[in-house]
């Protein structure tokens, strides 16, 4: 039974492929074909029916792109920590919440004091800085209190702790700021839309996408070019040898949590620019799960993977229900967007268990 789960490495073209197939392979192949067929049939039906105009498709894609950028920023936090510690920081959604929730109060203050109206860019930068600082603080606190003491423990132990820490943070912030829903003030200069190539695109969506892009490029530069970034890559590969190089791995780990926190905090404000509503102690839960999914989709541990996975997930969620489910004649398709998203996750993982850009785990690491 168990032995049959070993994946067949032989390609489709090899002669003995079919002889080697076990029943698990049959099931997996059947699933691949089924999902692919459903996607193609659904998409063809929808496109032929002409229910949606090109402008509507563009708006769906832009919506997915903006949502995906936010997923990607949060997903980077999961993937960075996983890369270094091989641990899923399940409280990362709360790191995002902490920054976004706290920055709301600053945002409200800048709106009431008139700073937002007179100097919107400076005001928003202040929000971002506050959110990033708070998220970084929470992330580092998590590392110190919840994860570092358990570093040598079996891998399930920090996972459980992370879930506990997640609840702890939710209810701490609930205690601090209450249960009600808040909204970021609207930023006047990013309201409305611009016409690009004949399509109306929301300015807020462009702002989300490009600010996320800038942050991601900055992160990429940091990891590839700076000494600390190189040390992060070194530690993720071999902690013991890193110590022999004189690298203080605790410092690198803290730095990693700081980075993830800063990105999550920034994502909180960027999300607030795009969708001001829904600021609440619970706001990190769903984005956290989605971003984790995006990280797995892209290949957990891989930085470009998290970016790609986030954007892929965002677009699938946005376009999928209309494109695929609509064509299959399913009602209330949008309620099933999570089904689409997770079906795509299964679909991708059947083909590439390591995720889109992930690499197979070496025995040593796992």
């Amino acid at each position: 039974m168990a032995a049959s789960a070993k994946p067949a490495r032989t390609g489709f073209l090899s002669k003995d492929y079919f002889e080697r197939m076990t029943w698990v392979d049959w099931v997996l192949n059947a699933l691949r074909v089924l999902i692919l067929a459903l996607v193609i049939i659904g998409a063809t039906n929808t496109l032929l029916s002409g229910k949606y105009t090109l402008a509507q498709w563009v708006s769906l894609i832009m919506s997915g792109l903006a949502q995906g950028s936010i997923y990607a920023l949060i997903a980077l936090g999961y993937t960075l920590v996983y890369g270094i510690l091989l641990m899923i920081n399940f409280a990362h959604g709360e790191v995002y919440m902490a920054g976004a929730f706290t920055a709301y109060f600053i945002a409200d203050w800048t709106a009431k004091s008139g700073l937002l109206a007179s100097a919107p860019v400076i005001a928003v930068l202040i929000w971002v800085i506050v959110a990033a600082l708070v998220s970084m603080g929470v992330a580092v606190l998590l590392e110190r209190v919840a994860y570092r003491p358990l570093r040598g423990a079996p891998r399930l132990v920090p996972l459980i702790t992370a879930i506990g820490a997640s609840f702890f943070l939710q209810y701490t912030f609930r205690g601090l700021y209450g249960t009600g829903f808040k909204s970021y003030p609207a930023v006047p200069i990013i309201q409305g839309s611009v016409a690009i190539g004949g399509f109306n695109i929301l300015i807020a969506q462009l702002v989300v996408f490009f600010s996320a892009l800038v942050l991601m490029l900055a992160l990429y530069w940091l990891i590839e070019r700076t000494k600390m970034g190189k040390a992060m890559r070194a530690v993720s590969e071999d902690k013991e040898v890193s110590r022999l190089m004189g690298i203080d791995i605790d410092r690198v780990i803290v730095f990693t949590f700081l980075l993830g926190g800063a990105l999550a905090g920034a994502a909180g404000v960027i999300n607030g620019l795009y969708r001001p509503q829904g600021v609440n102690f619970f706001m990190g839960f769903f984005p956290g799960i989605k971003a984790f999914t995006a990280a797995v989709l892209g290949g957990i541990g891989s930085v470009p993977g998290a970016m790609l996975g986030g954007i892929f997930l965002g677009i699938i969620e946005s376009v999928g229900p209309s494109l695929i489910l609509d064509g299959l004649g399913i009602n209330s398709a949008n309620q099933l967007k999570d089904v689409i998203a997770f079906t795509m996750l299964v679909f991708v993982l059947i083909f590439r268990p390591q995720g889109i850009l992930g690499e197979r785990l070496k025995e040593k690491k796992a």
Partner: protein, 432 residues
């Protein structure tokens, strides 16, 4: 060979799991009737318990307990907090009943079936609970109801609006059982009022509805759509989002492929905030009138949804602005709890608690040693007999299946710029 065995084992496990899930839902029948009765009878002094399903017995000096099944954790925690305040204010006002203090015990029923079941089991096991206020969500209410009913207890919900809860017609999906009451109005009333307003007053001919998958919103949307069709209008779209969704643009794009006159999305914050704010950005929906229901009849809604909320309609309980009782209540809230109530069902919880305590006061018999005997059936009967009760939420009269709020106490509100700037409540533009 081995594989077929495995399949067999898997099937067996599946069957077991399914039956295990089903088991707790089945009510325990009339288990409550015989034993509680005899116990209570033995304990009384000069007063004896002759109630058909037993008595609640409060020893001298002991407090009597009001139970609460509320959602106090998770995303809907604001609903629970809202109701809790209503309960506490009512209990504090009452002070004592026949020399017994009143305490409140809140259990977390979440907004789910599992939560409702757990909370009901905890409270049903406590013989000093005189009655339960809750639940906050129809889903948890449906799970709690059989447990509460078979224990001979009663529950009054402040915000469950699903029609099935007060329908005894099991063929049509009704799940009412004795002991269930609510001060929240049935969706059948509210959905009808909403549809009538849209068709008759706004003169709309097309309607789209979106719910969030909760029994509350789903039935409200369905009733509105049915009544609208009945009246002669056309329903262009019926869809759903998930609780927790933040990006409503995809579904709004779908709606915009055939733009309706009115879009009705009767669900809660924050999903309703996102829906209202994002609807105005969608090409094709510029002239569509937005409408939501009492789930979003909260002072934070216009502030959160912002400019997009201006011109929106909200259906919900009609609170007479000339009635000063509500203003007094808000003053008490600010004094005892602080700030303003976080949602729109605190007055329902307050009314529910007062109805319960009135019924207790009416039914309770005090024996010479100070023991308080409260007949369980008598308590239910007293509640069912409630007529023209002047509550904060309007005039309440209970029918035989526990619906205490009638459609008459409903109104349609229009959100204006003033509400976005902090005024509350909005002006009422229509009453049936």
């Amino acid at each position: 060979m081995k594989r077929s065995k495995l399949l067999l084992v898997l099937t067996a496990i599946l069957v077991l799991a399914l039956s295990a899930c089903a088991a707790p839902v089945a009510p325990a029948g009339d288990a409550g009737s015989s034993d509680t009765g005899s116990e209570a009878a033995a304990g009384g002094g000069d007063a004896t318990c002759d109630d058909a399903i037993g008595c609640i017995e409060i020893a001298p000096g002991d407090p009597l307990k009001v139970g609460g099944m509320l959602t106090i954790s998770g995303a809907t925690a604001y609903l629970g907090e809202d109701s809790r305040g209503g309960i506490e204010i009512a209990v504090n006002e009452r002070g004592q009943i026949d020399g017994h203090d009143i305490t409140v015990q809140i259990e977390d029923s979440l907004c789910s079936a599992e939560g409702g079941q757990t909370a009901a089991q905890k409270l049903a096991a406590d013989p000093t609970v005189v009655g339960i206020i809750g639940t906050n969500c129809s889903s948890s209410g449906a799970a709690a109801l059989p447990i509460v009913s078979s224990a001979g207890m009663l529950m009054i919900s402040s915000s469950n609006t699903s029609p099935v809860l007060t329908s005894a017609d099991t063929e049509a999906g009704g799940i009412w059982q004795p002991g269930y009451y609510r001060t929240a109005h049935n969706d059948l009333f509210q959905g009808r009022v909403a549809a009538e307003f849209v068709f008759n007053e706004l003169g709309a001919t097309t309607l789209a509805t979106i719910h969030d998958g909760s029994p509350y919103a789903e039935s409200l949307a369905a009733v509105a759509a049915d009544v609208f069709t009945e009246l002669g209008g056309e329903v262009t779209y019926q869809g759903a989002v998930n609780v927790g969704d933040t990006d409503m643009r995809p579904i709004l794009t779908e709606v915009s492929s055939n733009p309706p006159d009115v879009l009705y999305f009767p669900f809660f914050e924050p999903e309703s905030d996102f829906m209202a704010a994002q609807a105005k950005e969608i090409t094709g929906l510029e002239n569509t009138i937005l409408m939501s229901a009492d789930g979003s009849l909260v002072d934070s809604f216009p502030e959160n949804a912002g400019e997009a909320a201006v011109g929106m309609y909200l259906s919900g309980p009609y609170l007479n602005p000339e009635n000063t009782a509500y203003a007094d209540f808000l003053a008490k809230w600010d004094e005892e709890i602080g700030g303003v109530p976080p949602s729109g069902f605190h007055a329902h919880a307050y009314d529910a608690t007062n109805m319960l305590l009135d019924a207790v006061q009416a039914v309770a018999q005090e024996s010479s040693d100070g023991t308080l005997l409260i007949g369980r059936q008598a308590l239910r009967d007293a509640l069912t007999a409630t007529k023209d009760y002047p509550g904060l939420t309007g005039t309440l009269s209970c029918n035989e299946t526990g619906d205490c709020a009638t459609g008459e106490a409903l109104g349609i509100y229009e959100v204006t710029q003033a509400e976005v700037d902090g005024n509350w409540p909005p002006p009422v533009v229509y009453t049936p």
